[in-house]
């Protein structure tokens, strides 16, 4: 599957753009903790109810569309994470463990996995197909397959938004994500020339990670929800990356200027 990445966006606790993120890595990880994005695209009444994950995701999504020069109201979208909103899930499961089991209706509707996707549609007045997919630690690959096949079948642009939150809850024991992180990219069917990403399924397991950048690899190791950075690194160097999609096969993504 040949596709083109026409814009990217990034928001994390340590950087609000890809450039800032590289500076942060190069500086050895010093810097100011970023406050949550304002998300002014969402009407104030709705914004007050938005979970943190939606704020991260929407900021990265908006930046990717701006970078691609794409109208955010007419693009199909696929949102993805490994667990995502551990804060809301923690609050709901804690409430259910109490005798009266009282749940807030807002918390409940925010607990659907497609909450960020729903707020994105409301904020951009977008009526196009909108989805949420997961694939365990290979959730980013799940989203690439889902959106890639959609862009090619329907010959349209698509937005991929990958996000995960940090913070300490019982879920920290099963997924160690140190920081809030979201990245997004706009995909479209590749033209005959220009940079492409080529995706295919390959039997076996992905080759061991090539540590072209130790700091980046360390960051991803501490933030499995930031796997999208592997693709951005491969795009920058014309290299490749991949993720296992079953016990016996993996998705290989090779990037080139051809």
């Amino acid at each position: 599957m040949r596709l083109k990445v026409s814009g990217i966006g990034l928001w994390s606790s340590v950087a609000t753009s890809m450039e800032e993120f590289h500076e942060w890595l190069a500086s050895g990880g010093d810097g100011v903790e970023r406050s949550l994005p304002a998300c002014e695209m969402i009407p104030a009444a709705e914004r007050r109810r938005m979970p943190k994950t939606a704020k991260l995701a929407l900021q990265a999504a908006q930046d990717a569309c701006a970078a691609a020069g794409t109208d955010p109201s007419s693009i199909a979208s696929v949102f993805s994470s490994i667990i995502a909103d551990t804060e809301t899930t923690d609050q709901i499961c804690s409430a259910l463990a109490k005798p009266n089991k009282f749940l807030s209706p807002t918390k409940f509707h925010n607990s659907v996995q497609n909450a960020a996707a729903g707020y994105w549609a409301i904020g951009t007045q977008n009526h196009e197909p909108c989805s949420y997919v997961a694939g365990g630690l290979s959730s980013f690959a799940a989203a690439l397959m889902e959106l890639g096949t959609q862009c090619l079948t329907e010959q349209r642009k698509g937005l991929l938004v990958s996000y995960e939150m940090g913070g300490k809850t019982p879920f920290t024991d099963i997924l160690s994500q140190e920081e809030d992180f979201a990245c997004a990219l706009v995909l479209e069917p590749a033209a005959n020339s220009g940079p492409v990403i080529n995706m295919k399924l390959v039997a076996g397991s992905p080759p061991p990670e090539v540590a072209s950048n130790n700091e980046l690899q360390n960051y991803i190791n501490k933030n499995p929800g930031a796997a999208g950075l592997e693709l951005f690194a491969a795009m920058a160097t014309g290299g490749s990356c991949g993720w296992p999609v079953s016990a016996t096969s993996w998705l290989e993504v090779s990037c080139s200027d051809a």
Partner: protein
């Protein structure tokens, strides 16, 4: 039109039956699977469409996969020779060429709820330290391992449209040659999160669910496991096919449908357009029909406007309850059974059909030969999907 989307096997387990023949028998006999029996540790007064505990608990599953949702998936996979059909596809195409797309909203949150009752110092205890189980991908990973699927497996989680959208994704995977066959699944189980969550939104009915009744008072939650095998196999000239899908977003509110049904209408129009059908060519429409005031009112207005008098229109949640993330595949399989057996399910429990649908709701199940059947699924986040199936028996 989608040319290469054959459905070569399918199965359904829900409150109204274990296996598709049992479900069809209950549809034809008018036996509801709903009951007023309370759920353990819940004091919410509502009816539920549960699958029998005995059936669910009869399966030995490995401790690492333990959850009610995964047990329900295992029960579903054991019906109608479905696992054998997947084994045949693996034999034919190779395991790496067979994929899985599973729609779910609850996934194994039932297990996470239990784990929270047993936290020690803010940590899961050893018994509940199951890394994949406490993520949305739990049941897809379990089904992938049970079926020996060596191709990609993903979870779609868009609330109540999840397993309908899994069909759309599956069609695209086949179209692009990502795989040669793909298992579509939908598994959702009743748990405290959904009981207390829908209760907090005042959407649960204390009475048996009466879709599209003037006096309807809300949802009865249900649970289900449904699976279908989609293949790109042009050698098959007969059999059932997915003819079209339509996906849209309301962009209106997180838990209330668009007041004019804008997204619902778009999803239906897109599905019709892909299938190359006019509304008049749809023989049977299975409504989302949850039994809430808002859904049935808006869906009724849109469908009365879109479809002519002769289209048979009904809602089947009076048999199954609202199976949430599994509702899409539950009702897709009811459509396939309607095509296979030549009957149109009616609308159980409903006494006074809603004026929103101009009182055109089909109440009684009837014999009807048909070529095309359509189903709607609408979810929180304003997420909509319509599917159209057609074809003849093999």
């Amino acid at each position: 039109m989608l040319h290469d989307c054959h459905i070569t096997a399918y199965t359904l387990t829900c409150a109204s039956g274990t296996g598709r023949d049992a479900v069809t028998e209950s549809l034809q006999a008018g036996n509801s699977g709903l009951s007023a029996k309370p759920w353990p540790n819940s004091d919410v007064d509502t009816w539920l469409g549960r699958v029998s505990n005995n059936a669910i608990e009869s399966f030995a599953i490995e401790r690492v996969w333990e959850s009610r949702n995964n047990r329900l998936a295992a029960l579903g996979l054991a019906q109608d020779g479905f696992s054998d059909a997947v084994a045949d596809a693996i034999q034919q195409f190779g395991s790496g060429r067979v994929g899985l797309i599973l729609g779910t909203s609850t996934s194994s949150i039932d297990r996470t709820e239990t784990a929270y009752l047993n936290l020690e110092g803010g940590h899961f205890t050893a018994e509940y330290l199951q890394p994949l189980i406490h993520t949305p991908h739990s049941t897809a990973a379990f089904v992938q391992s049970q079926l020996g699927i060596g191709g990609p497996a993903i979870t779609v989680s868009t609330a109540c449209s999840s397993s309908a959208k899994a069909f759309a994704s599956g069609a695209r995977w086949l179209e692009n040659g990502l795989v040669d066959a793909v298992v579509i699944g939908g598994v959702d189980s009743i748990c405290l999160s959904v009981i207390y969550g829908f209760h907090s939104l005042q959407l649960l009915s204390e009475d048996i669910c009466k879709p599209f009744d003037e006096n309807r008072s809300g949802i009865n939650l249900g649970e289900a496991a449904g699976f279908a095998l989609l293949q790109k196999q042009s050698a098959l000239t007969r059999g059932y096919r997915l003819l079209g899908y339509g996906e849209s977003t309301d962009a209106w509110h997180m838990s209330t449908p668009h007041p004019e049904g804008l997204g619902a209408k778009l999803a239906m129009q897109k599905a019709l357009s892909m299938a190359g059908l006019k509304p008049a060519e749809v023989d049977y429409l299975n409504l989302h029909g949850t039994g809430t005031r808002a859904n049935d009112n808006i869906e009724g207005l849109v469908c009365a406007d879109l479809f002519p008098e002769h289209t048979t229109i009904s809602a089947t949640k009076g048999w199954t309850g609202h199976t949430l993330g599994a509702a899409g595949i539950t009702e897709a399989i009811i459509c396939l059974e309607a095509l296979r057996n030549g009957f149109a399910p009616g609308t159980l429990n409903t006494e006074e059909p809603s004026t929103a649908l101009e009182r055109r709701l089909s109440r009684a199940t009837k014999t009807q030969a048909m070529n095309t059947a359509m189903t709607n699924s609408f979810g929180f986040g304003g997420n909509n999907c319509s599917l159209i199936f057609g074809g003849q028996p093999q």
